[in-house]
């Protein structure tokens, strides 16, 4: 502050308004002309921007060429929606109950109870796996933390319920999300660990 000199202060002249602009009226009419033009735009103009949600949806990227469907803006490739719990190649839950995701979770919304796996080819599996979807902030740190890519954020975004208890998804519900969404690769999020994954990334 002490270094300020008088020459550092620059006086800036604003644009000098004409009489018409000072009286507002011509400028107001010009603005109203623009809005009127939009008002009489027919369905086609609106459909470029509006998604009639329950009937129309912004679908997952690979189902359409980008921007082809009536110019609908598509969801981004990296969309982080509802969680899913992947299955391994034998159809069992891929999670190895290592607690990495619940440790990484900044919202503390993942609750796991581990146990010995009933299958001979696996050592550990989650007896209980619950995610409180209301506490979750959809940051995606759980899927980055997962060493076997068992948890991923799918593209589903319409998650509704009538009670808080209903919004805590258990293992079956999360596996059901996987069954619904396994046809589509959820995210372009490369595995950051060197562990072998369940193969779904390459799908």
């Amino acid at each position: 502050m002490a270094d300020w000199k008088e020459t550092d202060i620059v006086e800036i002249e604003g644009p000098r308004l004409g009489a018409g602009q000072m009286m507002y009226v011509p400028e107001i009419l010009a603005g109203m002309k623009i809005t009127l033009k939009h008002l009489f735009r027919k369905r086609k103009g609106r459909d470029r921007f509006v998604v009639q949600y329950p009937e129309e949806r912004r679908e997952a990227p690979e189902t359409y060429e980008h921007g082809q469907k009536a110019g609908l803006p598509l969801r981004s490739d990296g969309y982080r929606g509802l969680h899913r719990l992947n299955r391994d190649e034998r159809g069992n839950v891929a999670c190895v109950a290592c607690f990495m995701c619940s440790t990484a979770c900044p919202a503390n919304c993942i609750h796991i109870e581990g146990g010995e796996a009933p299958w001979d080819y696996r050592e550990k599996y989650p007896v209980k796996f619950e995610i409180d979807e209301l506490r979750c902030i959809y940051c995606g740190m759980c899927e980055e933390a997962c060493p076997v890519n068992a948890i991923e954020l799918a593209y589903e975004y319409d998650l509704v319920g009538t009670s808080r208890e209903e919004m805590v998804l258990d293992k079956e519900a999360l596996l059901a999300v996987y069954d619904r969404t396994k046809g589509r690769k959820p995210r372009l999020n490369p595995p950051i660990t060197g562990y072998p994954d369940t193969g779904h990334r390459q799908a």
Binding site: D8, E13, R16, I28, M32, L39, R48
Partner: protein, 401 residues
């Protein structure tokens, strides 16, 4: 026996007719108010390339019903720190005051009621009609100011104070602009003003600048954008109705639209020839048949609907004024212009019918004079205008040593 008395009362031109008309008008008015919320949302949506409410009923037409149900079943919250009596009074006041204005609007010319003489189609035909309307219209500020005060919340209070300053300021040019129309027509009765426009032409062609002044003032009086500083969300979190919920909030909303409708009806009566369908053509003025009265009422409400649209169109076009700009527009712009217009209106009235035969048609000189006044005002503004940017009365801060 009782039936005869009821029929006697209802067929009486002084008693029965206003009662029936009141019932009809309130029915129309309430429907219109409810649907203007829907209309507003639709216009907003179209202007912003959206669809607007289209889920409730065909084309969303049942949306006001859904809104009404929602408002009734929501929790009606009364803040602990509020002034309870005033808090409850304020929304009722703002709604009732908006309703009062429709009593003197001349909706449909004249008719004969069961063999009576010609009576004007309005609830109350009073000599001081315009003064009454101005008084009632100015009372609408009580609802807003009381709500701001009673909420005991600084943002609401700011909103209420702004409403008071704004309404007081814009009452002045509003009264001046109305005075121009009164001078032109020589009466304070709205039905006479409308009838005199049937003889000459609509006042808007004679006094376009006065109409522009009045329209601006009505925007400010009804707290519509670009003058909605009373409730601006970005600054005041909703202003005076921040603390209101449920039906009390809805009453403010309905009161605002009611006020807009009454103000539009007033402008239609003063400047757009009331129920007259076409300017310069004295069609539909004399008939007292039922179909003519119904048609005239329909035309009147049609014009009001057009005004409503313009209000909404402006709302979704213009940004909000700053408060000092708002007040300086009123006191430095509209009041001097209004005074000049009244002076010019006085000259026009002084010349009189005989004088106009010598000078030329009044329908030529009246608007020319007004536009000249506007031109003078624009030049004056240009001369005193300062560059925008840094204000000249705020010199740059001296460098710290």
């Amino acid at each position: 026996m009782l039936g005869n008395i009821v029929i006697d009362i209802l067929t009486d031109a002084d008693l029965g007719f206003p009662i029936i008309l009141m019932a009809v008008l309130i029915a129309i008015f309430m429907t219109m108010v409810a649907y203007s919320t829907f209309y507003e949302r639709k216009v907003a949506a179209w202007i912003q390339d959206r669809y607007g409410p289209n889920r409730a009923g065909p084309k969303g037409l049942l949306q006001p019903v859904a809104d009404g149900i929602k408002f009734f079943v929501k929790e009606d919250f009364l803040p602990d720190h509020a002034d309870k009596a005033l808090f409850i009074l304020a929304p009722a006041l703002s709604f009732v005051v908006a309703l009062l204005g429709i009593a003197i609007i001349p909706w449909g010319g004249y008719l004969e009621w069961f063999g009576s003489e010609r009576i004007p189609v309005q609830v109350a035909s009073i000599d001081i009609g315009l003064v009454y309307l101005l008084a009632v219209g100015a009372m609408s500020v009580y609802g807003v100011a009381l709500a701001g005060w009673a909420s005991n919340n600084k943002y609401s209070f700011y909103g209420g104070m702004r409403a008071a300053a704004q309404t007081l300021s814009y009452e002045v040019p509003l009264g001046l602009a109305i005075l121009v129309a009164v001078l032109a027509c020589g009466s304070l009765r709205l039905e006479d003003i409308v009838a005199s426009q049937a003889l000459t032409t609509w006042n808007v062609f004679l006094h376009p600048v006065a109409f522009a002044v009045m329209f601006t003032c009505v925007l400010a009086e009804t707290n519509r954008l670009p003058f909605d500083l009373v409730e601006c969300e970005q600054e005041l979190v909703g202003g005076f109705h921040t603390e209101y919920s449920s039906m009390k909030f809805a009453l403010f909303f309905l009161g605002e639209y009611g006020h807009i409708i009454v103000s539009s009806a007033l402008m239609v009566a003063l400047f757009f020839g009331g129920w007259q369908p076409i300017p310069w053509v004295g069609w539909l003025t004399e008939s007292t048949a039922w179909w003519a009265v119904a048609l005239r009422i329909g035309i009147y409400f049609g014009k009001v609907a057009v005004f409503l649209f313009v209000f909404m169109w402006i709302r979704w076009t213009l940004p909000r004024f700053r408060f000092d700009q708002l007040l300086s527009l009123a006191w430095k712009g509209l009041v001097p212009l209004g005074l000049a217009l009244v002076a010019w209106g006085g000259v026009l009235a002084y010349v009189g019918e005989d004088g106009w035969k010598e000078i030329g048609p009044r329908s030529f000189w009246a608007p020319v004079g007004e536009l000249l006044l506007l031109e003078v005002a624009m030049i004056a503004v240009k001369l005193v205008s300062r560059p925008t940017g840094r204000q000249t009365n705020m010199p740059p801060v001296a460098a710290a040593s």
